[in-house]
Subunit: 188 residues, 2 copies
């Protein structure tokens, strides 16, 4: 967001500064270049280490408290209007897949701890197409989602459907990041 | 573990006392009745609430520090002998899928916060069969794994392959729980 290059944010080899929508003392949050479903975002440790077991207690706490806060924000944006803060646990609200690919053979493609959050609104279309798209990501909703130059872990994961998931433009991502940044101020 | 009925542990409607292999102040760990892959276990909040956002800071911290500790134990059991404590982040080691189905429309079938941990040894067979099995779980490695009487979220998830994943016997589960309980004492 700043022209000060010392403030640029990287995720793997990618400069993602304008896609960041939230920062905490130990974590940051990014919109995704190829969201599996609308609102699919990443919560990432500031410290560049590959594995969950590399994080300190403070980092783990911050990472998942941030996941909670992002869930509250996404619930307001994507779920029914009555799904207010603090009510995301009720059955009539939507849900989330929360997933980590913790290491290469679990599909991790950027060796930097990150948590996928994927909103699953209850009344969203749930046809086979959506499931097929999810399944195309190596049978893991976490998927290897940051794939501008994606390796294929284990040599078996990529499927033809993969190519249907188009990269978003920088403009689209910045617009979403700006919107989510505003929304984060509206939740506890 | 005890004949004192006040110490019985339940997960949803299921009495799982003998499948528990680790307890913390806020969490407990269970072996699975239908592991997707060997070593697939669950880390569960003691407090019976459905959603990640229902947990307090202390509960979240404990839950994921427990996930870390269980990963260290599973790394010793399932990965190469050189994958010692503290080395699970190196590429030659295995990996883990860590997944939560946080709400009904994300596939959650027991409304009680739980984290799936699935070891992915690097040199395990990685044929299509394994991916098909993972994909048969609603395209989510988290899967709806505790399915002695499983609902089908969204009405679209179950697939024929599902029936190939057999329930384990009580004896098998108790044996594994006992083994993991011992192993937990050997990690930090």
């Amino acid at each position: 967001m700043s022209s000060d290059s010392s403030k640029l944010t990287y995720f793997g080899p990618y400069e993602v500064t304008s896609q960041v929508f939230y920062n905490t003392p130990f974590s940051y949050c990014l919109v995704n270049i190829k969201p599996l479903l609308p609102g699919h975002v990443l919560v990432i440790s500031n410290r560049i280490v590959p594995r969950l077991t590399d994080l300190t207690t403070n980092e783990v706490t911050d990472l998942f408290m941030t996941v909670q806060k992002v869930q509250r924000m996404l619930a307001k944006v994507y779920f029914k209007p009555e799904a207010e803060v603090g009510r995301v646990g009720t059955p009539e609200d939507g849900a989330f897949n929360v997933a980590m690919q913790d290491g290469i053979s679990a599909g991790q493609t950027v060796p930097h701890v990150h948590v996928h959050i994927i909103p699953r609104p209850r009344d969203s279309p749930q046809g086979d197409e959506i499931y097929d798209r999810i399944e195309s990501e190596e049978g893991n909703v976490g998927g290897a989602l940051w794939d501008r130059s994606r390796p294929i872990p284990g040599g078996k994961f990529a499927k033809p459907e993969e190519s249907d998931r188009k990269n978003r433009t920088e403009t689209e991502m910045v617009k979403e990041a700006n919107f989510f940044r505003e929304q984060m101020e509206l939740v506890d």
